[in-house]
């Protein structure tokens, strides 16, 4: 059933409405597990739309298999999604920087508070993101090392290529995931693809993982699924490559995945001078799991992340 989670009257005869679709068994026992699947916090991230569609379609196709409650929130930032803007259009405000929200705060904080209130009580929450318009990510689960012990078994269920355990210092307190974990709702962040696009292959990979999780949680009655064993990485095992120069990045790799030390990742060029400013090579043997998509880079811009052991310059 589609329900309104929170709404706000906009100035000229329109409402902003955050919705969810609740799918649950015909007869409730009161002991059902509940999962919340959230996406669309960033209006430029669209993979979650396909994921929501496909999960709902499959749940509806076999309602007898549903043994728990599945709450799907496809459009946490409806105006951002509708206008293709990452933040909330009127305020330029990143919705994932206002949690846990505030009923007496600005509009975004009010909406955030309503969403958090609605999710509380879930046994699990998945927050699905698609990177941004600048870099592409392989399907990965991200979690904060404070909660790693509790969350890692769930992260492994999701059929991701990669699980990245952040140090808690780099975690932003004002995100939905941080707030919910803080309020005892185990929450995993999924990142995949790139902004303004849908990558069906990645989406299907995650959907398989989500069904695996539903089965493991007793929410979906079905045969067990074999999922990928993700690479599990902590922050120290990831090489982050930033642009050392301002210029235009031209990629030399066609796809992400396994990469050897010294492999040419791409160049930062200076168009008007016709020269290469920086040649970028993989610093390690490993897996390239983040890659620049948007070519215009200022010094510092993220070009790639490579997971791996051996680093160049190390013996």
């Amino acid at each position: 059933m589609i329900e309104e989670v929170v709404s706000i009257d906009l100035p000229v005869h329109e409402r902003l409405v955050v919705r969810k679709n609740r799918l649950q068994p015909q007869k409730l026992t009161g002991r059902e597990k509940r999962i919340s699947i959230v996406t669309g916090t960033h209006g430029d991230e669209l993979d979650g739309q396909y994921v929501c569609y496909e999960i709902i379609r499959r749940l509806k196709a076999n309602p007898e298999k549903l043994k728990g409650i599945v709450d799907i929130y496809p459009d946490v930032n409806p105006l951002g999604l509708d206008t293709g803007s990452r933040g909330i259009p009127m305020f330029d405000l990143d919705m994932n920087r206002v949690f846990p929200g505030d009923n007496n705060g600005a509009m975004a904080e009010y909406v955030a508070a309503g969403i958090v209130e609605d999710i509380i009580g879930s046994d699990m929450c998945l927050d699905i993101h698609s990177s941004n318009i600048f870099v592409k990510e392989v399907p990965q689960v991200r979690l904060n090392d404070d909660n790693a012990e509790k969350l890692l078994p769930y992260a492994k269920m999701l059929n991701a290529d990669f699980v990245w355990i952040y140090s808690s210092i780099t975690v932003l307190d004002a995100t939905l995931a941080y707030s919910l974990n803080n309020m005892s709702v185990p929450t995993l962040v999924v990142e995949m693809g790139v902004g303004h696009r849908i990558d069906n292959t990645y989406c299907r990979q995650l959907i398989t993982g989500i069904f695996n999780m539903l089965i493991n949680m007793g929410i979906w009655a079905d045969e067990p699924i074999n999922v990928k064993q993700p690479i599990i990485s902590t922050e120290g095992e990831v090489s982050i490559i930033n642009a050392a120069q301002t210029g235009v990045f031209v990629s030399a790799v066609n796809s992400m995945g396994t990469i050897g030390i010294g492999t040419h990742i791409g160049d930062i060029i200076e168009p008007i001078e016709g020269r290469i400013l920086q040649r970028i090579e993989s610093p390690t043997d490993g897996i390239i799991f983040t890659l620049r998509e948007n070519p215009v880079v200022y010094k510092g811009a993220l070009i790639a992340r490579v997971y791996g052991g051996r680093k160049s310059g190390q013996v």
Binding site: V12, L16, L172, D173, K299, G300, L302
Partner: protein, 311 residues
């Protein structure tokens, strides 16, 4: 006065991005003043320009006391100002949500880290700030309640109010918060304007900074004494919300007294022109914050009122 390049970033299709600093007086790191971090903070930039003008003059007349040094950074975001954007134009990131930054991080994190490196270590840090909610304030000094804040120092600006804000998660990445965590006494000064220049409130901001610097022994200057500030806790301010959405008719301004039952705003239907709802004050007090925009959403905070305490 010495002009310094605090940070320089090579431009691609533009001239280089440069953060300029203006250094006055001696070698000690006594006070650092930061203006615009966002591209729309025109008033904040204007205040700094006026302050630099006065400090130049005071320095020439030997009014900066021995050894004390003052750094003024008028804008850390000229790139956004020049293209009419509020945040870093390429990726729309708010530099004032990026502190303390990271020298190996993304562009805006590098900018924040390099800037923070240049503005940290001062005894006093003063930022002309803008609020994330759209509206006008009574001029005030704002401090975060970090455990290191000192309301009695904030009082020395002589502005009518000192507001203490308990930091929300989103505040921990601001300049003010990181200054305080790093041992600088940090103050944010809010005047009654951001996108437009308001000369009177800019003059008030400049005098408040000069007054503070004089009282801290950094300047020798004749100030009039200013206000004795009331210290208020942000969460004690009474929020008044709209009920309906539409055109917004504001009937009170920051600083106005209000009484319980006063009509303080009206919301008008955007198509039919009739008053949809009236907003009344639920308390006796003084308007501290007032929404400024032709329109309002439903359930939006339109006023914050300082409640008058009855003995």
């Amino acid at each position: 006065m010495r002009k310094e390049v605090l940070y320089q970033l090579k431009g691609l299709y533009r001239e280089d991005f440069i953060i300029e600093g203006y250094r006055f007086g001696g070698e000690e790191n006594s006070a650092c003043i930061v203006g615009a971090l966002r591209g729309n903070e025109m008033q904040q930039l204007y205040i700094c320009s006026q302050l630099i003008k006065v400090l130049k003059d005071l320095e020439a007349h030997g009014a900066i006391t021995h050894g004390n040094g003052i750094l003024v950074v008028p804008s850390a975001n000229s790139y956004s100002m020049n293209v009419g954007k509020r945040f870093w134009a390429l990726d729309n990131i708010d530099i004032n949500r990026t502190f303390p930054g990271d020298v190996n991080g993304d562009t805006t994190k590098q900018i924040a880290a390099q800037l923070f490196d240049k503005v940290k270590g001062y005894n006093y840090g003063i930022q002309f700030a803008s609020f994330y909610m759209q509206g006008d304030f009574i001029p005030h000094v704002r401090m975060m309640e970090t455990g290191y804040q000192s309301a009695s120092l904030a009082n020395l600006f002589g502005l009518p109010y000192v507001v203490i804000r308990k930091p929300k998660p989103m505040d921990t990445v601001t300049l003010n918060y990181n200054w305080q965590m790093n041992g600088t006494n940090a103050f944010s000064i809010y005047t009654s304007s951001t996108d437009l220049v308001d000369d009177a409130s800019a003059r008030q901001a400049v005098s408040s900074v000069l007054r503070f610097l004089t009282r801290m022994g950094i300047l020798k200057y004749n100030n009039h004494s200013g206000y004795i500030a009331s210290v208020i806790n942000e969460y004690d301010l009474l929020p008044v919300k709209s009920y309906d959405a539409g055109f917004y008719r504001r009937l009170k301004n920051p600083g106005d007294p209000v009484f319980h039952g006063d009509l303080i705003a009206e919301v008008i239907d955007p198509y039919e022109g009739m008053v949809k709802s009236q907003i009344f004050s639920q308390t006796d007090g003084i308007v501290f914050f007032a929404h400024t925009a032709p329109m309002v959403m439903g359930n939006e905070v339109v006023y914050k009122i300082i409640r008058r305490m009855h003995e």
